[in-house]
Symmetry: C2
């Protein structure tokens, strides 16, 4: 358990209780596996979408706008699960790419609605099949039941963490 990749020992680890020393190996940590998975997913998707001028950052916001066009910037932030400064940058980039527009609200001059351009909307037909493809490749070799289980377990731990973070500090990760 405390033997590293190339056979050396990490003697310090052995001083710790077993339940803890397990996490000396990244492969045993959910966090590490999530990180590698997310990075792989993101890289694969971006390779497909970037020829169409869409980066992985823009992608997440586009998807939300396809579901519900014209939210305020705040609403968009909450739904995508990002902080507002992130949304500002992302929307700037969508506007710059001609995929969305900022439309000042008429009844509340603080608010701005984000609306897709025809180009932005039309990309759904091209891009959505790409996520489907990446999901398929990522889950290759798993049964439908296993995939369902994976989704359920991931939702469960995400729920746990959202609760945990909400409890302690402020209001991150909706």
């Amino acid at each position: 358990m405390t033997v590293s990749v190339d056979g050396h020992f990490a003697p310090e680890v052995q001083a710790l209780p077993l339940e803890i020393s397990v996490y000396a190996q990244p492969e045993n940590s959910v966090g590490y596996l999530l990180r590698m998975g997310f990075r792989g997913f993101s890289t694969m998707l971006e390779r497909k979408t970037s020829p169409h001028g869409v980066s992985s950052g823009q992608w997440r916001f586009l998807r939300q706008l396809w579901i519900d066009d014209g939210p305020t910037q705040r609403e968009l932030s909450v739904r995508v699960g990002m902080r507002e400064p992130t949304t500002v940058v992302a929307v700037n980039s969508l506007v710059k790419s001609g995929l969305a527009l900022r439309e000042p609200s008429v009844e509340d001059r603080r608010k701005v609605h984000i609306r897709l351009t025809p180009l932005g909307r039309s990309l759904q037909a091209t891009l959505l099949p790409m996520v489907a493809d990446v999901n398929d490749r990522a889950t290759k070799g798993l049964t439908k039941a296993e995939i369902a289980t994976l989704l359920r377990l991931l939702r469960h731990i995400n729920g746990n963490m959202a609760q945990e973070l909400e409890q302690i500090g402020g209001d991150t990760v909706p």
Copy 2:
């Protein structure tokens, strides 16, 4: 399936095949769930480690050095799963914080070995229990069998993606 959070319809989605339109909803995409999971995990861990002066970026490198102290910078990159410019920055920060040292190789003047300081090594006893705790909180409510399944499934999809990315472009994500 194509009804958004607040009850509006997203009519365009309905033009697509069902297997694809499923992914219009982020909650059905493995990629989205991995991203949220990773972010939650990272935030929770950083809240615990930052009082000890360790950021989530440094953390990953520290853990690898605890397993195997004194690798070259290249070796460290590969084992942590990051590109070399990232490692340069991370090692700079570890050195600056007094947690590690750069030690020029004697038999090959291109190489540099990264070695923990006593301080860097001593943090293991403090920090490793924190990951254990975060893992526990994240997986609360799941049985041991479910956790084992989750790890297995995550390793599986990570393997798929590593293979996929290796095949197509260059050499990302080890």
